[in-house]
Amino acid sequence: MDLPTGTRNYTYAEDMAIFRTKTHWILLGVLFVLLFAMPAYWGDWLSVANRIGITIIAVMGLNILTGYCGQLSIGHAGFIAVGAYTSAVLTQRFDMPFLGAVICAGISAGVVGILFGVPSLRVKGFYLAISTIAAQFIILWVIQHWTAVTGGFSGMDVKAASIGPIVFRSQVSQYYLILVITIIAVYFAKNLSRTKVGRAFIAVRDNDLAAEVMGINLFRYKLIAFFIGCFFAGIAGSLLAHTSLSISTDYFPLTDSILFIGMIIIGGMGTILGPILGVVFIRLIDMLVTELSPALQSTFPNLPPGFTSGIAPLLFGLAIILFIIFEPRGLAHRWQLFKASYRLWPFSY
């Protein structure tokens, strides 16, 4: 169903390739050209694009953890915070180069993730959700009060990202940095899902007992999932810190963790396309609301005064509920259906 009719497999390598037909390659090329040329035609949207890119990296990690391995985590913003602060502290206080700090941020977030992931071995579902919420609160509390290192409530300033002599200070340069790292992250996630580890994750998600009986080491694979998921979060946190140039714990609220879950639900769990669609969808709603609600407020003066601040969570909540009830497989599934129908058109019978 995924491929146009008449696509045949002559070798194993061909069978496994992600891009199969000439059309695929052309479309990929067009996509890359559009993405890399974006500053030229949509310059005003770069800040949104940067936010979307960082969120895609974080949510891709959550998707590996929750969508592929089935371990629900509602503390992802906490792990992002670990990455952001690690990277900020390393570059500010120890003068570490940016690239090294990004890797260290990922590793430290991953290690903290493993720590809070250990209960996943004995509990699942709701218990795990609660322990990850607890993780979020404990992490933020430590950051808020460990003033000597993290600057406490007032947060800390961060250097702009730099690789060698290039300093990513302008929005355009930040856009390219985030774009390249996002593409690498998506590529990594796509390939991970097709390896032995990825298949083990899916087995654990579908039934962890059955997976264990088949010889999958649950302890190992659940912790690997936590590590990889939080590694992505750490990278996203580091990018966030080095592009916004200052961080405080306000950047990592629990509501964001919940929103990330909403994004993978809306996009479609356990697919690579899903998180991307989900993030774009939610961020665009976010944009629309912040653009439109002041205008609405001034045209309809009898709207309640809290309209502007309350409408966004209201819509997000509604979107999450509606998607779970009516389209639990998310936008990615809709996209599949659409592809199938245009391939068969006009003879769909």
Binding site: G125, I265, G310, G317, I320
Partner: protein, 294 residues
């Protein structure tokens, strides 16, 4: 010493209220297997609704509070009918995340209707502080404890003697068998959600009459999860015993640990307890360890 006594009394009373809110969760979890993560938001919206009735509409307490209870019953019914009914027999992941979405939705709703960050409830209880031994405790704590105890009593009587209560316990034990007996399971689900909302509403009123109505109430709802985790998710007595333990460790811990560590530890203690329980005894003090089969 007076300090310790004071911490103990306030901790116990606070814990009772926690246990009350936790019971609402346990009832839903036992009967329908839905993990209600919107608990904090339910507490929040009913506290604000009470504010709307008593302060904004200026109704007397004896009309206002029944109206709040009626609102909570209605809210529970709507939530079950509109959101959870279509999701019966869906995977647990959907059931958890849909309540997260619900919480988000309620928070937005509260933000639109009551765009205040803080408001006091009118004083429902007498204000003169009470002397217990050497400790001085404000009366609200004692009232909160008494009201919680009365509600525990009523609930356990309901589950013991009322037909519907017995049916709810049966549904918790084996849903299919109950259905085979001709008991409408959906009605039980709906009833359990109504209970959850009423208990959250009473808890919200009690907590916000001690403190104020703030956004922090949602976090209170999350702290209540530590009660369920410690007591065991599927155990009513577990929630009642674990509530005061959590309340005590919160007040005593905050009283004696704050000088040793950082301020704000009070809000984090329940979460630290959650992590500790997860490592040592994940099914809680009284919870039943489910043995799974493939």
């Amino acid at each position: 010493m007076a300090e310790l006594l004071q911490f103990t009394v306030t901790g116990l009373a606070l814990g009772m209220v926690y246990a009350l809110i936790a019971l609402g969760f346990v009832v839903v979890w036992k009967s329908s297997g839905v993990a209600n993560l919107a608990l904090g938001q339910l507490v929040l919206i009913s506290a604000w609704f009470t504010y709307g009735m008593l302060t904004q509409a200026n109704l007397p307490v004896w009309i206002g509070i029944p109206l709040v209870v009626a609102f909570a019953l209605f809210l529970g019914w709507v939530i079950e009918r509109v959101i959870l009914r279509p999701l019966i027999a869906q995977p647990i992941l959907s059931l958890i995340t849909v309540t997260l979405g619900l919480g988000y939705f309620i928070q937005g709703l509260v933000g639109i209707i009551w765009p205040l960050s803080l408001a006091p409830l009118p004083k429902l209880f007498p204000q003169t502080p009470v002397h217990i031994g050497t400790a001085v405790v404000s009366q609200e704590y004692l009232w909160a404890a008494v009201i919680s105890l009365i509600l525990f009593g009523l609930l356990s009587l309901y589950f013991r003697y009322n037909r519907m209560g017995i049916a709810m316990r049966a549904a918790a034990d084996d849903q299919e068998a109950v259905q085979a007996c001709g008991i409408p399971v959906t009605k039980i689900f709906s009833r359990s959600w109504m209970f959850a909302c009423v208990l959250a509403a009473v808890g919200g009123i009690l907590i916000s009459s001690i403190g104020n109505i703030t956004v922090g109430l949602t976090q209170t709802g999350l702290q209540v999860f530590s009660v369920m985790i410690l007591g065991g998710l599927d155990s009513l007595p577990g929630a009642i015993i674990a509530g005061p333990i959590i309340g005590l460790s919160e007040t005593i811990g905050a009283g004696y640990l704050t000088p040793l560590t950082w301020p704000g530890i009070r809000e984090v203690i329940p979460f630290i307890i959650i992590i500790i329980v997860m490592f040592i005894r994940p099914y809680g003090l009284f919870g039943e360890e489910r043995i799974e089969r493939i």
